[in-house]
């Protein structure tokens, strides 16, 4: 078991954003979490990534409780999260972004090559630069590599977020609405990137409200409503679940 979530709860004052949610993720699997706006999807991912401290429950990463750890500690363990609204270091170039994101890979390098890279970054970080180029090419950003990130389109910004996450060599990648705001062509590309990640053994946890997008991908789906888990199983079954239909699609929808 890669990740096990037990009775995870998050309260903001009187509001319970995530309520007693439990599930597990196996290595190599793609898990889709969906639910209407305000159902606690983003809060759930933020809890897993350590961006918010939980009010209760446990998050077990390879049997180690990581609930409440700092985000950089969780990231170093191999859990990386992307953001729904792209987070960037605006004034830096696209390439500099992926190089910053190569920090975890850098810390896994040998001591002497790290020391060497202080005096000659180009030589010392050759392998990282090659990987950065590859990630950018995969995300179709190779031509924007010297552009300041502030000049990117929304779709490019989102793909840059994915490229940065890839550079971190995650074991588990948490994607917060990766397809929202993307055009059809861009979604197609995103799907290719996600397939590539999966082929390399990365476990994915995707939240999205585009049900079709998730249904195509996920091995397992979880439906949330008002912070509670209302269904879990194969995507097709979850989508057909009476509670889900009612909560998500409205009571007059006939599946």
């Amino acid at each position: 078991m890669l990740l096990k979530v037990e009775n995870l709860t998050k309260r903001f004052g009187g509001l319970v954003a995530v309520s007693d949610v439990s599930f597990a993720i196996e290595k190599g699997e793609i898990i889709g979490i969906f639910g209407p706006n305000g159902s606690g999807k983003t809060t759930l991912l933020s809890l897993l990534a350590g961006l918010l401290p939980p009010s209760g429950g446990r998050v077990l990463w390879k049997d180690q409780d990581i609930a409440g750890s700092r985000p950089n500690v969780i990231a170093a363990l191999g859990v990386i999260k992307t953001f729904q609204n792209p987070q960037l270091f605006s004034e830096l170039s696209v390439f500099e972004h992926v190089m910053i994101a190569s920090f975890l890979a850098f810390t896994r390098m040998k001591h002497h090559s790290r020391l060497r890279s202080f005096f000659s970054p180009r030589q010392g970080e050759k392998a990282l630069r090659a990987r950065a180029e590859k990630a950018l090419t995969l995300c179709r950003l190779q031509n924007a590599s010297t552009k300041p990130a502030a000049e990117l389109s929304y779709g490019e910004e989102k793909m840059l977020g994915v490229a940065m996450a890839m550079m971190c060599e995650p074991e588990l990648l948490l994607l917060d609405e990766p397809a929202s705001g993307l055009g059809n062509d861009e979604i197609q590309n995103l799907e290719n990137v996600l397939r590539d990640l999966r082929a390399h053994g990365t476990t994915l946890c995707i939240i999205d409200h585009k049900v079709a997008f998730l249904a195509k991908f996920a091995d397992q789906a979880i439906a949330l409503q008002e912070g509670r888990k209302i269904a879990q199983g194969r995507p097709r079954d979850v989508l057909a679940d009476a509670d889900v239909v009612k909560a998500y699609l409205g009571r007059h929808h006939h599946a």
């Binding site: 961006l51 990231a75 960037l88 270091f89 830096l92 994101a101 920090f103 975890l104 202080f118 971190c168």
Partner: protein
């Protein structure tokens, strides 16, 4: 790195200019540049608005001199003691500030309070620091030169070269630091600390590192300053001293390698170039600073770099 070649003219300048006044102004420029570079590492690099650099500057001067007196050691060993003191102080203060996640204004105020605390110690510990009167520094730094053995640095010309070589060394160090993974992590923290953290960067540790390195560099400037002027007093640790360094960095160009040097050069030579009554001079000086900061947010270096880039792309 190539921008450092701009320092070469300063190495040949003494062949052309023998004026003691010019060389003295440049010695002050070089020493204050080092202080400004220190501030630029933590502010221009990691985006943390510290007000502690003047305290580090003062500690550098005081501890180097006092340990020479007490332990009978050389300038460089004395400076080693100062470095140790500054590292410990920086880690304690940085730990407190960054653990409590103090940012921007709050970080500035708390570091300022610590700097004032240090200044009050220097002011009131009469038996050690001689209080308000300060201390006369009669010792001189020595350096070993090939073919000449150990030389005392006393005259203007040796001081000129000593401070220029020190500045060059610090500039090379800061350029290497800023383009390394450490500098990359610093800018990640400056531009988006939360994102940096989700990418696995231990922002607490890197902010502490930036703060400590910056204070050690400032302490080096303080030691050189004290021994060059031959006088150390509590004003070294004052707010004015901190603000002067900040003004140099803003004027020259935040987050640029040469910005602090350009800023120090302008602000150190300006008072000598403008022949005005003292009170009026301060006003003029303030006006220039305000205008420059309003009109050139990236400082002189940023402006020049922009113009050069514009010409390249136009061609």
């Amino acid at each position: 790195m190539r921008t450092l070649l701009l320092l070469i003219p300063f190495y040949v300048l003494p062949l052309l200019v023998q004026s003691d006044v010019v060389l003295t102004v440049l010695i002050f420029t070089f020493v204050l540049s080092i202080l400004a570079i220190g501030f630029n590492i933590v502010f221009g690099g990691a985006g943390q608005l510290t007000m502690f650099h003047a305290a580090a500057f003062g500690i550098g001067g005081y501890v180097t001199f006092l340990s020479m007196l007490r332990f009978g050691i050389s300038f460089w060993l004395g400076f080693g003691v100062a470095v140790a003191v500054v590292i410990v102080t920086s880690i304690v203060i940085g730990w407190i500030c960054f653990k409590f996640r103090l940012k921007e204004f709050y970080f500035a105020v708390v570091t300022l309070a610590f700097a004032e605390l240090c200044r009050l110690v220097a002011l009131n510990w009469n038996s050690v620091t001689n209080g308000t009167l300060g201390m006369l520094v009669l010792e001189k730094p020595t350096v070993w030169l090939p073919g000449m053995g150990v030389v005392k640095i006393e005259q203007t010309l040796p001081w000129y070269f000593l401070t220029l070589v020190c500045l060059t060394g610090i500039l090379i160090f800061s350029a290497l630091l800023m383009r390394s993974w450490i500098g990359r992590n610093f800018s990640a923290i400056r531009l988006n600390e939360d994102l940096a953290q989700t990418l696995g960067i231990d922002t607490f540790r890197y902010k502490l590192l930036a703060f400590t390195i910056s204070n050690v560099v400032a302490a080096f400037a303080g030691a050189l300053y004290g021994f060059y002027t031959g006088y150390i007093d509590p004003a070294y640790l004052s707010v004015t001293q901190s603000l002067d360094a900040i003004a140099m960095v803003l004027l020259g160009g935040v987050s640029t390698i040469l910005g602090p040097v350009v800023g120090a050069l302008v602000l150190t030579s300006l008072p000598h170039l403008i022949e005005l009554p003292a009170e009026l001079r301060v006003a003029v000086y303030g006006m220039i600073l305000i205008l420059v900061i309003l009109l050139m947010p990236r400082g002189i270096v940023g402006l020049v770099a922009g113009l050069l880039r514009g010409r390249v792309s136009a061609a």
